[in-house]
């Protein structure tokens, strides 16, 4: 095997090591990774805790949103029912859809990743455990506040996709829509934080030897899922920002009277919304591809094709957004392209389905609860997929659009593609997490009730839809032939609810604080997650030589538990994990992991408070909370990039690696680059919005400011980028005043970014263009505001660099902070330049 980093793969032959391990090693490991005591459970950051909290919160939101569904079905059971008032019903269906999509589906699979990936990859933990914990607390607080808005009549009522003009101030006065816009924008930031964690975790903290062909299929799915979040979610963040700004400040992005266009919302929303379906589906499919081989006791048929199919799904999912817009009057040739793409997406999904069927056929399938849930999910998903191909055809979509047929289709896809696999995952992996399996008897009851309830609820909806019943109506008239299908759907909803209730009883039974906890590898799973673990994950990190290590590497569990592999101790006396290379997983350096602290929890509390207070228009308290949140985040950052007592460490069998890395080989560099991809996506989509709104009314576009001011803006940004680069070079010279020079250069670069932005703003103000007047003004000033935000962050970073230098932390041996600030400055310069060139040169004078 060729080496990727210069590491000699022959060194793997030293493992498993021979002989007894020194006494006290395991105790040191347990001490470093000790669990929380008392109230410390709030500040815990270990994935064993945060992952369980995360899954628990996601399932709580599933139950809450499901309760709303049962109430809605009660209202719709008979014609002209008065169980729920119209306004309450509108709030219920909006909150139901929003919670299921934003607070259950995506966070649940993300939570599964946080919980399972470290053990599955053979890492001690994911590389940014505090970020995971921050994402969880932000999500929990934001989600609960969002749900609580129902009790005050303040819940949004414009549907889960919040189309303007229905959600504009004219038609949705009050703050209901603002709860959705600010709440969802905030929660998506938490999803992005989780995605960064997962990408860097899968790429950089795999067990040595776990090359890409040995990467578990669930980890592949999580990697693609997280990558898709990074590309898709900026679109929803941007669209919610634009609509909120239109509502609050009157900038007309979607108001056609002032040159805006409501279709812009649909493009932005569905550029996020359709990939969202695959974002939900792929991790569940990864779980299916993991559980089915274990239950069938045979390797997954067509593993490489399945990986390719997941990758292909990830790519094509960004080419089908407009199939939600077939009825909006797009040109016929455009709808034909999207129709073709929508049909093509069934091919990679079909590859996975056939691989699962072939695996079941090739093995000896066990029909225990996880086995039943995967097969049930497979059946339901295929049925949903078939109706998906139907609505991909434009003429059929015109007939079925906004009818109950679409409600049936989307529930078949989402329940079969995500809910059933999620339950399969819970029944399959819970013995690993709680060391106690769920009840097989109750589990089978849960499955059959849920399977029957699902079909009873949604199968008749195909008929009600084809018979003309529109979705989102709070009641319906008698004598239309909809009586029986609606009544059956309501009965089915109660049967489904009974299944969930039974599952809750089973879970409560499982987490009882007494009784034995020694489930072990109950399903003979082949992945590393089934190795014996403690709070430190595996006792020693194995060399992976197979896709199914526990099936193929005999004695692996015994040797891992005996500490005969990598990192059988705490090499530096602290929490740590091995960072490996992205392709071949060769050991590169030892990462020091953070210890629990309260800063991330306070940061989450204040960030949530900032958004909530902004929603209720309490501006000054909101600003105070924003500043406090920022302070907590800076405190959190301050303790990063500190001196290490040891420059290298023995990670087992005499193999030594550095304890510090900077630049592209460091995990922090990767995280910042991914964050900047998110920012770049927002900027690119804002550029798309600018061009799109120009294309609606090209004649109304006013000439931009003169080119001389543009030259100054570009020159300022270029100089800032150059200075940031020079600052990094000067720090690495390791001269006595290197730190001071680097800090001052960084501060000067930050000042140049701010100056270039101010110059651009001044030039536009001088033209008389105003953001509230027309679409050109709103999009130009939106781009300026976005760049202004970056200029403010860069200014803060410049100040931070100076403070780090004053505190003696900006030194040549630890250039990471300097590198990352420089990366951010270079990006900001590029973004500012691109925005200026776009608005000045297109369409030009």
């Amino acid at each position: 095997m060729n080496s990727e980093t210069g590491f000699d793969p022959a060194l793997y032959d030293r493992f498993p090591t021979a002989g007894e391990r020194p006494a006290g090693e395991l105790e040191d490991l347990e001490k470093a990774w000790c669990g929380p005591r008392g109230w410390e459970w709030i500040t815990a950051i270990n994935n064993n805790f945060v992952g369980v909290y995360y899954v628990g919160a996601a399932m709580l939101f599933f139950v809450l949103a499901g309760t709303l569904a049962v109430l809605m079905r009660t209202q719709l059971a008979v014609p002209m029912n008065g169980f729920l008032p119209q306004e309450t019903y509108n709030q219920f269906f909006t909150v139901h859809g929003t919670m299921m999509m934003f607070l259950f589906a995506v966070p649940a699979v993300e939570a599964l990743g946080v919980l399972l990936l470290p053990q599955m990859l053979g890492a001690r933990d994911l590389p940014f455990p505090r970020l995971s914990a921050y994402a969880f607390w932000a999500y929990l607080i934001g989600g609960l506040a969002f749900f609580a808005s129902l009790f005050f009549g303040l819940a949004p009522d414009g549907g889960w996709f919040m189309y303007p003009p229905l959600t504009s101030v004219a038609w949705s006065p009050g703050i209901n829509a603002d709860f959705w816009l600010l709440g969802i924008g905030f929660i998506e930031i938490s999803a992005i934080a989780g995605a960064i964690e997962i990408i860097v975790g899968v790429l950089r903290t795999r067990a040595p030897g776990m090359t890409l062909d040995k990467l578990p299929v669930f980890a592949w799915a999580m990697l693609i899922f997280a990558g898709m979040i990074i590309v898709a979610f900026p679109s929803i963040i941007l669209s919610t920002l634009l609509l909120e700004v239109e509502r609050a400040l009157g900038w007309p992005f979607f108001d056609p009277l002032k040159g805006g266009d409501p279709l812009l919302w649909q493009h932005l929303f569905w550029f996020f919304g359709h990939p969202e379906v695959y974002i939900i589906f792929l991790p569940a499919a990864g779980a299916m591809s993991t559980i089915i081989p274990a239950m069938a006791r045979t390797p997954l048929v067509g593993h490489r094709l399945v990986v390719l199919a997941m990758l292909a799904t990830g790519f094509i999912s960004f080419g089908v957004w407009a199939h939600h817009m077939f009825t909006t009057g797009m040109p016929t040739i455009s709808t034909s392209f999207f129709s073709a793409a929508s049909m093509a997406v069934s091919v990679p999904a079909g590859v996975q389905v056939f691989a699962w069927i072939a695996t079941v056929a090739a093995g000896r399938m066990r029909f225990s609860t996880p086995g039943l849930f995967v097969l049930g999910g497979l059946t339901i998903f295929v049925m949903g997929g078939l109706t998906g191909v139907m609505v991909a055809m434009v003429p059929f979509d015109w007939q079925a659009h906004d009818s109950y047929f679409v409600v049936a289709h989307l529930h078949y896809v989402l329940i079969g593609g995500m809910v059933f696999p999620m339950f399969a995952a819970i029944y399959y992996w819970l013995p690993m997490t709680s060391s106690r399996p769920l009840s097989e008897r109750l589990g089978k009851g849960v499955f059959w009730l849920m399977f029957a309830g699902m079909h009873l609820t949604f199968l008749p909806m195909h008929l009600t839809g084809l018979m003309g019943m529109p979705r989102r109506v709070y009641t319906w008239l008698p004598d239309r032939g909809w009586e029986w299908p609606n009544l059956i759907s309501t009965v089915g909803a109660f049967v489904f609810a009974a299944a969930v209730l039974l599952w809750i009883i089973d879970m409560a039974r499982n987490f009882r604080p007494f009784g034995g906890r020694d489930a072990g590898n109950v399903f003979d799973g082949p992945g590393l997650e089934w190795l014996p673990t403690g709070l430190y994950s595996v006792r020693s990190i194995p060399v992976v030589r197979s896709l199914y290590p526990l099936w193929d590497q005999k004695g692996l569990a015994r040797d891992v538990e005996a500490g005969r592999y990598f990192l059988p101790n705490t090499a530096t006396g602290e929490r740590e994990t091995i960072v490996t290379s992205t392709l071949n997983a060769e050991p590169q350096y030892l990462q020091r992991m953070p210890k629990p602290s309260a800063w991330h929890v306070w940061a989450a509390v204040f960030t949530a408070a900032f958004f909530l207070l902004l929603t209720v228009k309490a501006y000054w308290p909101s600003v105070v909370c924003g500043v406090l949140g920022l302070y907590c985040i800076l405190q959190w950052c301050w303790f990063l990039d500190r001196p290490m007592a040891m420059k290298t460490a023995d990670i087992g069998a005499g193999i030594t690696v550095p304890t510090y890395a900077s630049g592209p080989s460091s995990h922090g560099w990767w995280a910042v680059v991914i964050t900047l991809v998110v920012a770049g996506m927002v900027a690119a989509l804002m550029g798309f919005s600018y061009v799109f709104l120009w294309s609606r009314n090209p004649a109304d576009w006013a000439p931009p400011p003169g080119l001389s001011s543009m030259a100054w803006v570009v020159a300022g940004n270029a100089a800032a980028a150059g200075l940031a680069w020079l600052a990094c070079r000067s720090l690495r010279l390791a001269r006595p005043r290197s730190g001071a020079v680097a800090a001052l250069m960084m501060a000067a670069a930050a000042a140049l970014i701010v100056g270039a932005w101010a110059g651009d703003l001044d030039a536009w103000l001088a033209t008389g263009l105003r953001p509230e007047v027309d679409a050109q003004g709103s999009t130009v000033y939106a781009l300026l505001a976005w760049q202004g935000f970056f200029a403010a962050v860069v200014a803060l970073m410049g100040l931070y660099a100076v403070l780090r230098w004053l505190a003696g932390h900006l030194v040549a041996e630890r250039p990471s902070t300097c590198d990352l600030i420089a990366l951010f400055i270079v990006y900001s310069a590029g973004q500012g330049t691109s925005a200026t060139l776009l608005t000045r040169l297109f369409p030009g004078g």
């Binding site: 095997m1 060729n2 090359t211 890409l212 062909d213 490489r304 094709l305 990986v307 390719l308 990758l311 292909a312 790519f315 094509i316 960004f318 080419g319 407009a322 040109p331 016929t332 040739i333 455009s334 709808t335 034909s336 392209f337 999207f338 129709s339 073709a340 793409a341 093509a344 091919v347 990679p348 992205t582 392709l583 294309s695 090209p698």
Partner: protein, 102 residues
Amino acid sequence: MRRWAWMLGGLIVWTVHFMGVYAIASLADVVSRADDPAWRMAGLAFSAVCLLAAVAITAWAARRLRRRTDPSTGFGDQLSLLGGGVATVAIVWQTLPTVIGY
């Protein structure tokens, strides 16, 4: 990053294609009509370029796989071959609205 680009090359070309044909049709809609013959020809030419790129990736990956000496190094090339193949078929499929009408 180079090796990732190689592994995902076919899928990247596919993405460029489906974004590109939509962008060309949208631009045509602003300038004249979405189905203006000249713009359709431009879309067709763009599709041909993408198709050639996908075929080239497939052929190159197949060649690398044939010549490899170490069987453990083939994962990236296999992924590239499969991705290129999928992209080739998908590009032809998504060019059909331009070729045969809609």
